[in-house]
């Protein structure tokens, strides 16, 4: 009986320290800004029909949240991503799926979104859905967005939002968090790291 107690003790000890080591490895990989456990599957509407993150298992996914009326922040991010995609070989680029989630479903239809994103890169997909669905995904990924009325502007309202490119690996696990205005070369390098894994 005593012998077994010892065994249990060591199992507990090994699991505990092993867990800490694994957690450290995990956090190192993610970078400081990523909330541990962030990410996960979702399903939204594209012009072609419903699209789920899990549809792209085996590919690297670059995910961005924004809206089409955004004159500056969103297009810059999409151009940065498309420049990174254009600097990959065709075979590599085929292994990467760019997704743009509109946080402005009132103004951005799946049809318009599709044309919009294809203007940046052929294979990009534009997604949107009900506000409740988008809210849930935003929470999953740590996206902050907020509809703000601008009564003095012809825009009527704007959507304040974080501007981050999320890189998700072939297993659907969120790996990188690229802050606003990350240059195409850095995006490319992070994509290559995931593609080479």
């Amino acid at each position: 009986m005593k012998k077994y107690n010892h065994l249990y003790f060591w199992i507990v000890v090994i699991c505990f320290f092993g867990g800490i080591l694994l957690a450290q490895q995990f956090l190192k990989q993610q970078g400081s800004d990523l909330i541990p456990g962030a990410g996960g599957n979702f399903t939204l509407q594209a012009d072609q029909g419903p699209v789920a993150l899990s549809d792209f298992k085996g590919k690297v996914v670059a995910l961005y949240f924004g809206y089409m009326s955004c004159p500056d922040i969103c297009p810059t991010s999409l151009w940065n991503l498309s420049a990174a995609m254009n600097s990959l070989t065709r075979e590599q680029a085929e292994q990467v799926q760019g997704l743009f989630i509109s946080v402005d479903p009132e103004r951005d239809s799946p049809y318009a979104l599709n044309l919009f994103v294809k203007g940046f890169f052929d294979s990009f997909l534009g997604l949107t859905g009900l506000k409740s669905e988008i809210d849930k995904i935003a929470r999953q990924y740590g996206v902050i967005y907020e509809k703000v009325p601008l009564p003095d502007s012809a825009m009527g309202y704007v959507i304040d939002h974080t501007s981050v490119i999320y890189l998700i690996d072939q297993q659907g696990v969120l790996q990188y968090y690229l802050p606003h205005n990350t240059d195409p070369e850095s995006i490319k390098n992070d994509l290559l790291k995931l593609l080479e894994e």
């Binding site: 004159p71 500056d72 151009w79 203007g119 974080t162 195409p184």
Partner: protein, 160 residues
């Protein structure tokens, strides 16, 4: 006599007080390309003021239904775009309208803005003088280190 001298002193600066439009210099203007369903865009530029304090109080362009003056505030990673009444141009200073900051917002584009094209933008100043400029349309992105395009950024190139 004293009054006359005082008057002369007060009037002395008058002849140099030209139109604001005449003392504002504009460098590197560009507008963001807008294609495929994008009905909004923005114009950016560097404004120098060789005169007294002034401001841009409105803008207009034949390619947009409405043109507004906007700024962006980066509030801990949350981008907040807001309309502003004027863009201040302090005396003898340079003010830069740039992506992620102050911009001339083009709303309701009546045409695609394609790279290589030039659009007309008119700035209205605080003394109601105006200046119309030709603004080239560009694709705005951070330059690549190897830079296939025209965007060669030295600092970026050197890190390679």
């Amino acid at each position: 006599m004293k009054k006359l001298i005082a008057c002369l002193f007060l009037m002395a600066p008058m002849p140099i007080l030209a139109d604001v439009a005449a003392v504002i210099t504009i460098e590197d203007p560009f507008a963001r390309a807008a294609i495929q369903q994008q009905r909004n865009s923005a114009a950016f530029m560097k404004l120098g003021n060789k005169g007294a304090d002034a401001a841009i109080v409105y803008a207009k362009s034949p390619v947009a239904d409405i043109v507004e003056l906007h700024t962006h505030v980066n509030d801990q990673g949350v981008m907040r775009m807001r309309k502003i009444e004027r863009i201040e141009l302090p005396a003898q200073q340079t003010v830069t309208l740039k992506p992620g900051g102050l911009h001339v917002m083009l709303l309701g584009l009546n045409q695609d803005l394609k790279v290589g094209q030039t659009i007309e933008v008119t700035l209205g100043f605080s003394d109601s003088s105006e200046k119309t400029i030709e603004v080239p349309v560009k694709m705005v992105q951070r330059p690549m280190m190897k830079g296939h395009g025209k965007n060669h950024d030295k600092k970026q190139m050197m890190t390679h």
